[in-house]
Symmetry: C2
Subunit: 215 residues, 2 copies
DNA sequence: CATTTGCCTATGTGATCACAAATTGAGCCC
DNA sequence: GGGCTCAATTTGTGATCACATAGGCAAATG
């Protein structure tokens, strides 16, 4: 049956599915190693295999999904080496992004960051892993948007995407109700215009999750 | 007509097409703004639109191709800001990769780099832009492979891919028959185990193309 | 009871088709 | 001569189909 789509203005079907899956993965709503099928995705979003295939392909290209040799797709189960490498990439990219955002960070932005940070603290106190990841990434993205470096930000988001499923199980292991200490340091450094302090705080925040892995 | 492909072991059709297009783009064999069509690609590689679409999608996801709002695909025409940002990314990533490769760089690797570097010099003397880009990237990839950081290397290659078409026109503008001075510095720093020198040489080499753009 | 074998279903791949939108180009009007 | 209109063609999108193969489950075997 051919469905005469009513002159859709906002993006094609595969774009919609891509966005939906991407958000799920990045926010840690899917566990590592979870299998996906094209027909299953198509059924869920009420489309044929074609758009499902394209969104999956795209996510595989970005490293958000793993493609087995037989073509089956699943969320990746990252090795410790891979996790460390991705954390190093986060540090490299996000320190630079924060540094570039610093001279452009005015009070309105800092207020905004503080407000988002309250959401982070709330998610932590409620042991809400997905909420934590989402608001934490929003904190970082809001800051980095000021860097006016779209390619660099896109690359950082790709790393977030690859770490998504792993972050869930990582933060699920986190028991202490720790308020986002590094976020406070980031905000303080922004206020003070302290670039070295900002770089340190971002690096510390970004590699924080790693500590509970190796330590 | 259904073509019963004879139990192809080495990769699917879209994989083959993806590899072919990717190499072309990364090596600067396609000019910026060049349009591609799914049916055209399919005709060239003797397949239907389906595998052509998947390879194109994948390349779009990697930033190697630009997708217009109407769905047409072409190689990107980068703005100067974008080029500068991608060069900054190269510097960030490749300095780190070189630094990680340094402790593992033994004589066999240095010999290999010197041999590749002769190919670079030859391509420069022959004004062969594609040959220059290819052997130059081979030089860098050979060094970075020693870093044992696959995710980081993949990210660097993605940047190369995005810069591919632009590099062609950029190096086409280069008139002087300049031998790869920075490459010699890189090799010297590797020999001496001089990390600061290596970082400087790589940064200089990687942002070299930018100088003729802004200067 | 554990292991293996074999069949059946689920799944990915690529081809083809129908359709809508965009592009192009020729003809026409001012 | 230049700009505009409209139709023909090109092009991307999504659906559906045929096919090969991989995975899983059940029965048979030791």
């Amino acid at each position: 049956m051919v469905s005469p789509r009513p002159s859709e203005v906002s993006g094609s079907a595969h774009e919609r599915i891509y966005r939906a899956l991407r958000t799920r993965i990045m926010h840690g709503e899917i566990a590592p190693g979870q299998a996906l099928t094209l027909r299953g995705i198509g059924r869920e979003f009420d489309v044929s295999m074609t758009p499902a295939r394209e969104s999956v392909r795209r996510l595989v290209a970005e490293g958000a999904l793993f493609l087995s040799t037989s073509g089956r797709v699943s969320t990746p189960e990252l090795s410790n080496e891979r996790i460390e490498e991705l954390a190093a990439l986060r540090a490299l990219l996000e320190v630079e992004l924060a540094s570039r955002a610093l001279p452009r960070a005015h009070m309105a932005l800092i207020d905004r960051l503080q407000s988002i940070n309250m959401g982070v603290a709330e998610a932590v106190s409620k042991r809400d892993a997905v909420g934590y990841i989402r608001s934490n990434l929003e904190f970082h993205r809001t800051l980095y948007l000021r860097a006016q470096a779209p390619a660099m930000l896109a690359m950082a988001e790709t790393v977030w995407l690859q770490l998504g499923p792993t972050m869930r199980s990582l933060y699920g292991r986190l028991r202490r109700t720790e308020p986002p200490r590094d976020h406070k340091l980031i905000i303080a450094a922004l206020k003070a215009g302290d670039e070295p302090g900002l770089r340190l705080a971002v690096r510390s925040d970004v590699t924080q999750g790693l500590r509970m892995l190796t330590g």
